[in-house]
């Protein structure tokens, strides 16, 4: 009977399953397995991003431009080199210049964009046609488009008033602001529910992966060729469990400060 996966592929799958379980062990408490997974992912990602940044930015956006004699790109090169003066205490003040230029450019780019997306476009979208005599034509629950639009307008304006900082939220003004914060909270509730559902689907994906690992390891009556690596499966699971038990005994009654 041929296994579903080659031994090499199975080892990689086992390593991924080990890291998944090590990360899940955080639910118990901080422990050496989680620390290992954490440090590994931080280290690997840091190295990975160095390469990504070189090939994605430095090479395509600078090196190749300079090779093509586009000399204007010498300016970002110089600014980038100036950032390195931070390593010298006497010259570290020089690095403030590229930072200042960067912040200036970034702010200059961000302000018109924010004004467009968060002010003018929203304002124009809010100015909709409302058919006043048709507001509740279909009844409260079968509301018309005009009714929905009016709700959006009232909610938006009330939320905007909640963010008015120059006046205390008292009296009628406070009442409108309360409508505003209620509108926000209703929106947050809906958003929360939608996002939690998305997270649950991520969890399901991980659990399915672990189940596939189990099938590849100990087998399934429904899948021919599975169950060729039973020993490795149990060694990994019992090994992880053993480590957690040892950690529990070692840290029993000790605070985090004692351990550090």
């Amino acid at each position: 009977m041929n296994p579903l996966l080659s031994f090499g592929d199975y080892l990689w799958m086992t390593f991924a399953a080990f890291l998944t379980l090590a990360t899940f062990s955080f639910l118990y408490k901080d422990n050496p397995l989680y620390k290992f997974a954490e440090h590994l992912v931080v280290g690997v990602s840091a190295g990975y991003f160095v390469i990504i940044l070189y090939y994605g930015s430095l090479k395509t956006q600078l090196v190749e431009k300079l090779i093509n004699h586009e000399w204007v790109y010498l300016i970002p090169l110089v600014l980038g080199v100036l950032m390195w003066t931070r390593f010298n205490k006497k010259l570290s003040w020089v690095s403030r210049y590229p930072i200042a230029i960067y912040i200036g450019i970034a702010t200059g780019l961000a302000i018109p964009l924010e004004m467009q997306t968060k002010v003018t476009e929203q304002l124009e979208a809010m100015m909709v046609y409302i058919q006043w005599n048709d507001l509740l034509a279909g009844g409260f629950w079968n509301y018309t488009n005009s009714f929905a639009a009016l709700l959006v307008i009232i909610g938006t304006l009330a939320a905007l008033i909640y963010f008015y900082f120059s006046k205390e939220h008292k009296g009628w003004f406070g009442g409108v602001a309360t409508v505003g914060i209620w509108t926000l909270m209703l929106g947050f509730g809906a958003s929360f529910g939608a996002t939690v559902m998305a997270r649950i689907s991520l969890l399901i994906n991980r659990v399915q992966f672990l189940d596939q690992w189990r099938i590849n390891s100990v087998g399934s009556v429904h899948q021919e060729g599975s169950g060729s690596y039973t020993a490795i499966y149990w060694v990994v699971l019992l090994g992880m469990l053993g480590l957690l038990v040892v950690d529990l005994i070692r840290t029993k009654g000790k605070t985090e400060t004692d351990l550090n």
């Binding site: 954490e38 046609y129 900082f165």
Partner: protein
């Protein structure tokens, strides 16, 4: 069999040669074939379909409000075939050349349509080595090829051009943005002047989350534990991150005064360097530059969940008394806030990412919602520059509320020009 299926079938299947010959002669007689460059194809038994009538009224003009790397081509599509022997146009290919004699390059295609006038935007980039490079201020010529089911059977249009792609300095489609920025700038300058004259007497309503910052720093000092300050995943160009730098400066100064510690793990390298400068400045302002250590502010990684794993580890090992999450946050918001809650820290969060605010609201002690984050820096610092900007924001909001109400009434009364005035195009 519908009309179009029948046309396609006729193009593919042999037919009576005599009938087709007659049809061809009739088609030549009725259509002005000589005006178009048409191609006629014959099948194995001598039957033939004539090419469709090409498109007409082809124009090419510089695309408005751009950097000069686009040309708009318009044309009147080919009429529906009047004869069964005429091939059906299925799509149009737009070709571009640097001279009338070619060579021609296909720059796009559109499906056949019966719209009165069809529009195609030929746009490209500035990279001369890229395949979509678009030359500016160069004479360009365009023609439209009407394609049939048989790629060898098509009709060319007349040539349009020369036309040049020319960049514009003013994007009229975004004028409303300019006027709003100008209005807001003037408002800021006016209130900056007012704030300078009246000092910190300008009223700002209390923000619970910000009042809690000083309390949280005091708590950390009493407990002898550090404060964790997370700037989020934003870059230095994000407004939320910029607002967070201001608050970080204030927190660092307080931390230095109280002789406690602040930890700032960073996600973005540029944010990291700015955060280092900000914290260092905070310590200097408090008169304790010697207490500042570079290790307090450190770069972790640019991988989202690796960063979260590292910060979670820090929260559990250092057990900070206070966690402050201010900036741009994404999927990591709940993971961080939950870990902080497990560690028993007081948590203050603030972001303008609407999708993440619910998580902070449920898992943190205080949450700065959206613009409260921007207001917080002015509220904390009470510097004329920030106070003036905050007051200007408030008055701008009042104007927006009034404009929105007027806009809804005007639109509902049929005066749509008012709403159109705020429309941003491009």
């Amino acid at each position: 069999m519908n009309y179009y299926t029948e046309k396609i079938t006729r193009a593919l299947l042999p037919a009576n040669a005599t009938a087709l010959l007659v049809a061809l002669l009739l088609a030549c007689a009725t259509l002005n074939v000589s005006a178009q460059e048409s191609v006629v194809e014959e099948d194995a038994v001598g039957s033939a379909l004539v090419a469709p009538v090409g498109v007409s009224s082809v124009t090419a003009s510089d695309a408005p409000n751009d950097a000069g790397r686009a040309v708009v081509v318009t044309f009147v599509p080919a009429p529906v075939p009047q004869s069964e022997d005429q091939a059906l146009t299925l799509s149009y290919e737009i070709h571009r050349a640097l001279s009338q004699d070619g060579p021609w390059k296909k720059v796009g295609a559109m499906p056949s349509d019966t719209t009165a006038i069809m529009t195609f935007k030929d746009a490209g980039g500035r990279d001369t080595t890229s395949s979509d490079y678009f030359p500016t201020e160069t004479d360009l010529y365009y023609r439209v090829r009407s394609m049939t089911v048989d790629t060898a059977l098509f009709a060319e249009s007349e040539i349009a051009g020369p036309v040049q792609g020319i960049g514009q300095w003013w994007n009229s489609g975004r004028s409303p943005v300019f006027w709003f920025v100008l209005f807001f700038t003037i408002l800021t300058l006016v209130f900056l002047n007012v704030a300078r004259k009246r000092g910190d007497s300008l009223y700002i309503r209390p923000l619970a989350g910000i009042d809690a910052v000083d309390e949280a720093i005091g708590r950390a000092t009493e407990m002898g534990k550090p404060i964790l300050y997370v700037l989020g995943l934003g870059t230095a160009s994000d407004i939320a991150t910029i607002a967070s730098f201001t608050i970080l400066g204030r927190v660092s100064r307080k931390v230095a005064e109280y002789q406690t510690d602040v930890i700032v793990p960073c996600y973005d390298p540029i944010v990291f360097t700015i955060a280092q400068e900000t914290v260092r400045s905070g310590y200097m302002d408090a008169g304790r530059p010697d207490a500042y250590r570079d290790e307090q502010v450190y770069f972790v990684t640019q991988a989202q969940f690796a960063y979260v794993a590292a910060v979670n580890g820090t929260i559990l090992r250092e057990r900070p008394a206070t966690n402050i999450y201010l900036g741009k946050f994404f999927a990591e918001s709940l993971i961080l806030a939950e870990t902080g809650a497990i560690a028993g820290s007081i948590q203050i969060a603030g972001t303008d990412e609407i999708a993440q605010l619910p998580f902070f609201v449920v898992a943190c002690d205080y949450t700065l919602i959206g613009e409260e984050l921007y207001a917080a820096s002015a509220y904390l610092g009470r510097e004329p520059l920030l106070l003036g900007a905050l007051k200007a924001q408030d008055y701008a909001k009042a104007v927006i509320v009034v404009l929105a109400i007027i806009g809804v009434i005007m639109t509902s009364m049929g005066y749509e020009w008012f709403a159109e005035a705020f429309k941003v195009v491009g």
